[in-house]
Symmetry: C2
Subunit: 235 residues, 2 copies
DNA sequence: CAGTGGTCTAGACCACCTA
DNA sequence: AGGTGGTCTAGACCACTGG
């Protein structure tokens, strides 16, 4: 574990334990330098991390302050590491509908930089949040990278398995969102009616080395879908 | 203009001029250090900026590579600076429906940290993209901060005016999204039918010093709403 | 004008990738 | 093994905030 990561974790823990609120002032840089016995840049880096994560904001000439968003029960759109990490409070579970090795669709091949004769794992599952249908997910995994999947893995956290089981490092992802009306088939899966709203999110996930390994299309149940997103001006 | 910002701009310009594609390799750090005559950390900072912006990705032991997303015509969800900056290709215009000073609703007061007897500007407008209705927007601006607005400003870019006209610095924002079905009134504004899908996005915008100055609720036309979002694993 | 965060440097050393 | 990005340091100097 790197110093600046460790320090970021400890500062965040401190904020939680002290139950600090939006706008509360944290100790000054000098204090953290002395307390953790590191140089200024290291502390700066830790705080940058927390700033991007939406935990603090820094005001030059004034201080470092706690940032909090007020609403609970929203799913964070950042975090390209699957849901499991985000929603400690909520129960997320999955019911696999299909799991097979096949050739990719044209679209999947394009998004994964594959030829149409290479293998992918195709996974279709329904995901539940607190017992309600959250979404229907179809994913294509490049089999050359994600070499093995089974029903058990697919019922749990696929991304967890990819990280821990396969030792792969997940890097960045591109998400595309649009809305439309549910068709018959989707409506049945989600327990809704044809014509009701849906949100479709397509995502291409890449490893840290830039290789795309997963293309997924997720159709969300509009009744359970509340998302939040914290942004920075990011000079 | 800071060095690392300037350098980031130049590197990005270089990528565009050379029409580099996803996966193309950029020169090594050493090269940039020599070329711009700055220290390693400065270049690193520039590249971090570009990485967060989704322009490049860096692979330790390997190099710096161009990152591109493949689809056009999507609205970026990051950028809390209004649309104007994002969509160079698209024509965005606004038709004001209401503009007045009033007392905030309970909800607006809560989100802006105001008492219910303090003044806000209330703005309601329809926004168009390439001649089609994009969304209906209702905003509450803290009048103590955004001291003046008129019909002309509200027809153009409010955020542009806040930055340049008022000299305020926009910091971070919290967005909350959810879906539902259009009611009668919204449907009329958007030229759609009651019961069709809608996406509602509520956002609280803050200055760099942490003060909230704008609370807005935007209802999007599902036919024009395509969003994208690039994320990083963000160590 | 004192306090506080931000930028920038030069250099040492480390971790990872490719071959 | 050689190349490449990442971390960390110590210190100088700058820019903004607020009494």
């Amino acid at each position: 574990m790197l110093k600046y990561q460790q320090i970021a974790i400890e500062i965040e823990k401190y904020i939680e334990e002290q139950e600090l609120q939006q706008g509360d002032k944290l100790p000054v840089l000098e204090h953290f330098m002395a307390h953790f016995k590191v140089s200024k840049s290291t502390i700066t880096k830790s705080l940058e991390l927390l700033e991007r994560k939406g935990v603090v904001y820094q005001v030059r000439g004034s201080g470092i302050f706690v940032r909090r968003h007020k609403r609970k029960g929203y799913i964070s759109l950042l975090s390209n590491q699957g849901f499991k990490r985000e929603l400690e409070d909520a129960q997320i579970s999955s019911k696999p509908l299909q799991l097979e090795v096949r050739k990719p669709s044209k679209e999947a091949a394009l998004n994964l930089n594959l030829h149409e004769d290479e293998d992918v794992y195709y996974v279709k599952r329904i995901r539940y949040i607190n017992g309600e249908t959250l979404c229907v997910e179809e994913s294509y995994y490049n089999k050359a990278i994600v070499t093995y999947l089974n029903k058990e893995i697919v019922s749990e956290s696929i991304f967890g398995y990819i990280r821990e089981g396969l030792g792969l490092k997940i890097g960045f992802s591109d998400m595309y969102m649009q809305m439309d009306q549910l068709d018959e088939n989707e409506a049945v899966h989600l327990g809704l009616k044809k014509g009701e709203p849906k949100l479709t999110v397509e995502t291409v996930f890449h490893l840290t080395n830039g290789q795309p390994f997963d293309f997924s299309r997720v159709v969300y149940n509009y009744k359970q879908s509340r998302f939040f997103l914290q942004t920075n001006s990011d000079t």
